[in-house]
């Protein structure tokens, strides 16, 4: 049983490593900040979660604490990336759109908000 768990855990660790690497690759390859945030957040969240879970499985007495770290990561990572995306928009870095018909529904709300602040 222990060996099986260790092997499974090791596989999780490997998967986590791969996703962390993909996250790094994603933030290098994507064309603008929003896409980078997408790639970075998703990949590193899953990567971190799976790696830590893998460690928790390999050493079962660590599992509870590992789960706590996982929950913290799963909870805080999206919030920080959301805050980052919003901050980036507020700095007038509008998203990269592939063609001129690209959708940017946030612009209206953003402009309205700014108008309210000015008046």
């Amino acid at each position: 049983m222990k060996e099986v768990l260790e092997i499974i855990g090791a596989l999780f660790v490997l998967l986590g490593g791969i996703f962390l690497f993909l996250g790094g690759l994603g933030i290098v390859r994507m064309p603008d900040a929003y896409n980078r945030i997408q790639a970075g957040t998703k990949a590193t969240t899953l990567g971190g979660m799976s790696l830590i879970l893998g460690v928790g499985l390999m050493e079962t007495s660590w599992l509870i604490k590992a789960v706590v770290i996982i929950i913290f990561i799963a909870f805080s990572n999206p919030i920080s990336s959301h805050a980052l995306a919003r901050a980036n928009y507020k700095r007038k870095n509008f998203p990269y759109l592939k063609n001129t018909k690209g959708v940017d529904a946030y612009k209206d709300a953003y402009l309205n908000e700014n108008k309210e602040e000015q008046s």
Binding site: S76, H82, A83
Partner: protein
């Protein structure tokens, strides 16, 4: 010109320092009868403290910690004195506009957890890594999260001052009680319990809790003072 001179000087300094330090071998101990062996045996055996670093910080070299706490206290005081702003107006804002609802809702649930994490860290200072300073810093970070997320979140300056002062007084009084009950300042006068239990280590957890509260209050006050510093 000055840059080149400084660079040359630094290069000479660095090479000399490296030359001296490289005569030490990495990962070896260079002395035979240092104080560390004493700490490493007395810590777990006499004081029943699992984390030797905590034993050193709070008991063997507890005086340093008193000084360290004082340094933070002074930094807070000095910051208030240097920025010489008259008492900020009631309702003065720490941030210009509130954060988005997502961050607000998230910080609501993270805040108690972070404070609890801080308390956990300083209560378990003698068992696991961490202690009063780290715990206090985490608590201050929790308050920082609230200050960042909300526009009108206020911390009572008076309460902070009282907590800080009371914690500092407790620290010194504990030390002086050692002087009265035992023979020297900061001497341990409580039963030490058994190793790796929560209630062990005599005075050490108590002092670390006090330090945790003090550091937390100090750093929160420091951040608060600084955040309200807007022209």
């Amino acid at each position: 010109m000055k840059k080149i001179l400084v660079l040359l000087l630094l290069a000479v300094f660095g090479i000399y320092l490296a030359d001296v330090l490289f005569s030490l071998e990495f990962g070896k101990q260079f002395f035979t009868d240092g104080v560390k062996d004493f700490y490493l045996t007395k810590g777990p055996l006499d004081l029943k403290v699992s984390n030797t670093i905590t034993a050193i910080i709070v008991n063997f070299r507890g005086f340093d910690t008193l000084g360290e706490v004082t340094v933070l206290f002074l930094a807070t005081t000095a910051m208030g004195g240097i920025l010489y702003k008259k008492r900020h107006k009631v309702g003065a804002r720490s941030v210009l506009f509130p954060s988005s609802q997502i961050v607000m809702a998230g910080s609501k649930i993270l805040f108690p957890a972070i404070i609890l994490l801080g308390i956990y860290v300083f209560v378990h200072g003698h068992l696991t890594p961490g202690g009063g300073f780290q715990g206090g810093t985490i608590i201050a970070t929790g308050f920082l999260l609230m200050l960042l997320a909300y526009q009108d979140y206020t911390v009572s300056h008076k309460v902070l001052t009282i907590v800080e002062s009371l914690a500092g007084i407790t620290f010194v009084v504990i030390g002086l009680m050692g002087l009265i009950k035992g023979s020297t300042f900061l001497e341990n006068f409580m039963p030490v319990g058994t190793l790796n239990n929560l209630f062990s280590g005599g005075l050490i957890p108590i002092i670390y809790i006090v330090v945790g509260f003090k550091v937390g209050a100090e750093l929160t006050g420091l951040i608060y003072t600084a955040l309200h510093e807007k022209d």
